[in-house]
């Protein structure tokens, strides 16, 4: 077991992990932050996307021990107090950007990162930025609408 210390959604977490424990499993099992979902565990679907020091990354493609010293933000860390939705979360609801909701945390995290870097993306930029997240329900139409709405709301 290796010691690991990181900041998760603003809280400092200390623990010990097996080297092979992925960051995604650490967040889900040790931190009980089950909003980070595992859709493929080989880095394609994007459901496990989290912010690592502010940048969107696949939590299934990192070992928890590699996040030692880092600040991690999960889907649970994006909303406001008392369940208030972030602008991106709210836009997903307004535009019907989710159905089963399983891929949604990864999309919301990715879109949050996208809009931080590019607050007014074109439709082409939106689609390219979303192409690293798979959704099987919406046909992406509502998700693209949600990104536009969240960008307009900024």
């Amino acid at each position: 077991m290796l010691p690991v210390e990181m900041t998760v959604n603003g809280e400092r977490r200390r623990g010990a992990v097996d080297a092979r424990r992925t960051l995604a499993d650490y967040l889900r099992e040790e931190c009980a932050l089950t909003g980070t979902h595992l859709g493929c565990e080989h880095g394609v679907c994007g459901a496990c996307t989290v912010l690592l020091d502010g940048e969107a990354v696949r939590a299934c493609l990192m070992f928890a021990v590699q996040a030692d010293g880092a600040a991690v933000t999960t889907i649970e860390g994006l909303g406001g107090p008392d369940g208030a939705l972030s602008p991106v979360q709210d836009a997903f609801r307004e535009e019907h950007g989710l159905q089963c909701g399983f891929c949604t945390p990864g999309f919301v995290v990715s879109v949050t990162a996208l809009l931080q870097e590019n607050p007014k993306p074109s439709e082409t930029e939106i689609r390219e930025a979303l192409s690293g997240n798979l959704c099987r329900c919406t046909g992406y139409q509502g998700i693209i609408g949600a990104v536009k709405r969240a960008a307009d709301a900024r």
Binding site: D18, R20, R21, R28, E29, L33, T34, G35, T36, H37, L38, G39, C40, E41, H42, V44, C45, A47, T74, I75, E76, L78, G79, G83, L85, Q89, D90, F92, R93, E94, H96, L98, Q99, C100, G101, F102, C103, T104, P105, V108, I126, R127, E128, L130, S131, G132, N133, L134, C135, R136, C137, T138, G139, Y140, Q141, G142, I143, I144
Partner: protein, 772 residues
Amino acid sequence: MSTSTAGRFVGQSVKRREDPRLVTGHGRYVDDVVLPGMLHCTFVRSDVARGRIVRVDTEAAVALDGVTAVLTAADLNPHAGEMQPTLLLATPGAPLRPLADGDVRFVGEPIVLIIASSRYVAEDAADLVEVEIDTDPAVIDVEHALDEGVPIVHPELGTNLGAEMEFPIAPELEALLAGDNVVRRTFRQHRHTPVPMETRGVVVEYEPSVGELHAWMSTQNPHEAKQAMARVTGVPAHLVRVEGHDVGGGFGQKFFTPREELTVTLAARRLGRTLKWIEDRRENLIASNHARADVAECTFALDADGRLLGTYIDHIEDAGAFPVGATGGAGALVGLLFTGPYKCALASLRTRAVWTNTCGRGAYRGPWMFETVAREQMVDAAARQIGMDPLEWRRRNVIPTAELPYTLPTGLPLDMVSPSETLEQAAEIIGYDAFRAEQRRVFTEEGRLLGIGLGLYVEPSTGMMDPMGTETAVVRVNPNGQVTVALGTGAHGQGIETTMAQVVAEELGIEYDDVTIVQGDSAVTAYGRGTGGSGTAVIAGNSCRNACAVVRAKAIEIAAHVMEAAPDDLEIVDARIAVRGTPTRSVAWSEVARIAHLETARLPEGMEVGLEATATFKAPPFSWSNACHACTVEIDRATGVVSILRYVVSEDCGVMINPMIVEGQVAGGVVQGIGGTLYEHFVYDDDGNPLTTTFMDYLLPTATEVPTIEYGHVETPSPTPGGHKGMGEGGAIGSPPAIFNAVADALALVGAIIDRTPLTPDTILDAIETQA
């Protein structure tokens, strides 16, 4: 016909109640369930398509730290009850079994179940299990599986023919089919698979001292799971509880209760331990039910004006080794619905379901959609053969609304549909004639290949198959007037907590925010059909309506008694029960609820205390929906890449409960069709080894591959009380042939012909090269 029936809530794009928890990461999916003492499972699976198990050595796995049990067929199979779903208890099917016993029948078949302290350790143990299999030749090519001398997939059955249905050919039809004016084509649809973003999974707790079995499962159908788990374990059904909570998509794959869930449940029962199995993506791709995989030779007989006189379809579906749910059920409907929305007097068919040493077939969004694929592709082929535009062919042959009801040549009664209207609407929105002109121009001037395709269909959601046609709603009014509704559904993305609350609020005249839907839990809901087969709006919706009618009548009776008015003079408006025309004489809905529960002395004499009702709705044999898909594409002649330029759906699902959700369902279905036609292909090699076992190889469409979908709506109310129709599957039914036809239309500019999917660069470039 296209009248607006929007009410206060029904017909409104109400924002979904499910969303706040899901967008914040607070949904509860099966992998989020953690119980005390819970152990983790994995399977050792066959890497051989067909062979005899010579040796299974589990010694090293058993010895590994953290391993609780390593189970083989000998440990579980003798204790297993029936594994077929309720729907098929009387139907012979594949000889289902928990773990492979003696032989293996497809790559991915479970041989050993490992139970350990974590999934990590379980997989370590799986690596230590030694399985020796003597490989035998496998049956992979479904088109030759019935040939002489081909091995038999299931020796117990003695044949690779799983199911067959054949209609006699009337002499008039026989004469037509032998005539000169026929179009004959063979179309092949490749194998793909549903791929919900959440894989399957189950957590099962069995407490021997109590004898109760409690499962959390990713399921579309908690009551079916409960029945199936009771059958396989022998635990009495009333001691089994299945909860679904949030379910990350299903598309048919989670409608029945598959083998792995039943095997883990049986193991939990045998060991008295709490077990979790979460399917990983590779397992999902290789061993969760596959779909499509059809081939049919189709014949159209036409008159001199291109009118359809008779059809014949000879269809084979690849059932795989262990189908989940029906064997050959899809094929029967492929045959029965083949003529679809077109006038045709004569039809005959043969459909066969055939066993192969591949992953079993199962339900996937529009399980019999090959009827539309084959027919609509035939329509374009026929039109092309006789030199008629495919839109004109459809106009000539589509059943006019004035001629409804219309009996299909296979005997099915078609009514309350609008194929002609949706055809015209889709053609208008996409600008069919203008596109034709543009297509000619860019081909002549620039040599570019543009194409346009249509896909027209009628789809029955049916109440014929018990128990899939019935739902029961329990509508309970709390003492403060707020309402809790219990449904046996298994929502997995449809927004049932929203739409059914809209229906109930509308029916009771109360606020949407005062209605809560409870579902996805067998213990607190009445036995029901689950969620699938485009059934919820019609079946669950009308069960809600029926229960609301009883509740409303009682509430009005109480109000009438309290106000000393005649019940017939009362109506419910904005959560008050008022004398019609005299809104000042009224009593609040909440007051009536309070009286019913807490001031029972004020109830009419003899009236039962409380305010709730349980009501059932049994769907009619057929309620039809319909749609027309239209799309335009461009083919890059140099690379074989297909780009979709525009995509239009004109649909008629009757009265829409929530247009936002309807359009979301359509878009999702269309994109699955785009994926299925252009990208997704589950590939086996000749020995039955799967070659597309990860998301690097099994390609789902992403946001960069899909167009913006444009919608048109036509509203023909169904004959059921709410006027709704099924619409969850349609997007995936109309899109594959629309895309295929658009690509075929573009290729026809250079004389190239396609007859199979997927439409990959290989297929396109080969077609162009063959012609050149």
